[in-house]
């Protein structure tokens, strides 16, 4: 898909909006950094996750499962399951961005909620590319800087429980989930997932209750037929 060239005014508007999203999202890398070292990861591992994994929900999930005493494998599987939604974003973005070769290989790294939200609704390839790149690159830079700041600060603080950082993890997951909860079916899936996870906490090894909850998504996805109106992520506030 191609379209007319962007006017400077149009381009400026997209860049401004995208930088705003980049700034807002990047900043919460501070909370990831702090939560991750509180979970027992080193500063280097925390920064490696933000550099190499670079998809917020998966990163939070990995350290969340490890913090709860789960095996690294459970944490990694949970992170991968959450990462599958980026595949769907990529499917939508590919024809719109129209990149191939090394550009595609590089662009893939910044296929995340925010860059998708800021480009998938554009009507031309130039506009989509500007939104995607500006958002993706600004989030990447700020998210990584903020992660380092949060990790170093978190290490300096000492016992994370004193500062309620263990509670911050739950709050972060809820904030990531919140926009999706406007949909009735998502509410049902959420409640069932909670029931399944808490139901098997007493018997299953740590990390497994969260993975088991993915079964709810499988079951409801197979049994229902309606598309989800909240499917695309909103730009963060």
């Amino acid at each position: 898909m191609t379209g007319p060239e962007l006017s400077p005014r149009e381009r400026g508007g997209i860049v401004r909006d995208s930088l705003g999203v980049g700034l807002a999202t990047g900043a919460y890398g501070v909370s990831f950094g702090a939560v991750s070292v509180a979970a027992g990861l080193s500063v280097a591992q925390t920064c490696a996750l933000s550099l190499l994994m670079f998809t917020g929900a998966s990163q939070f999930a990995l350290v969340g499962v490890v913090a709860a005493g789960g095996a690294p494998v459970s944490g990694a599987l949970t992170a991968l399951l959450l990462g599958t939604r980026n595949t769907l974003y990529g499917l939508r973005l590919a024809p719109l961005l129209g990149w191939s070769g090394w550009r595609r290989v590089v662009a893939a790294h910044v296929v995340i909620d925010e860059s998708t939200a800021m480009s998938v609704t554009r009507t031309s390839t130039p506009a989509a590319r500007v939104g995607f790149l500006t958002t993706g690159v600004s989030v990447f830079v700020l998210w990584n800087l903020a992660t380092l700041v949060g990790a170093v600060a978190g290490t300096a603080l000492g016992d994370p429980r004193t500062y309620g950082l263990d509670a911050a993890v739950g709050a972060a997951f809820l904030a990531l989930l919140w926009p999706r909860l406007r949909d009735r079916r998502n509410q049902v899936v959420g409640v069932l997932a909670v029931a399944v996870a808490l139901g098997i906490v007493p018997v299953a090894p740590p990390g497994v209750p969260v993975l088991a909850a993915a079964g709810v998504a499988l079951l409801v996805g197979v049994l229902t037929h309606r598309p989800d109106p909240t499917e695309f992520p909103e730009p963060p506030r």
Partner: protein, 99 residues
Amino acid sequence: MSWTALLLAALGCYLLKLTGLSVPARVIERPVVERVADLIPVALLSALVAVQVFASGHELALDARALGLAVAVVLLLLRAPFLVVVFGGALAAALVRLV
């Protein structure tokens, strides 16, 4: 946390992104696959909230973290930004532990 698990998970997450950009949509894009993939974040994040807040090892627990979550809910209802929600929840839990 082992570096091997960390790096493999990171590589896997990258390949999931690259697959989406590279594979023709018709190979993956089926309604049932889409619905399941779409519901997975909802199910996993809900379970993560529950386990993170109400579990302690193999036991269910109601402690300062629950208050932190309640404060997070109020802040989300007030449309507070992400950082305010996260650190607001933490602050509430920290304060209740002080008293």
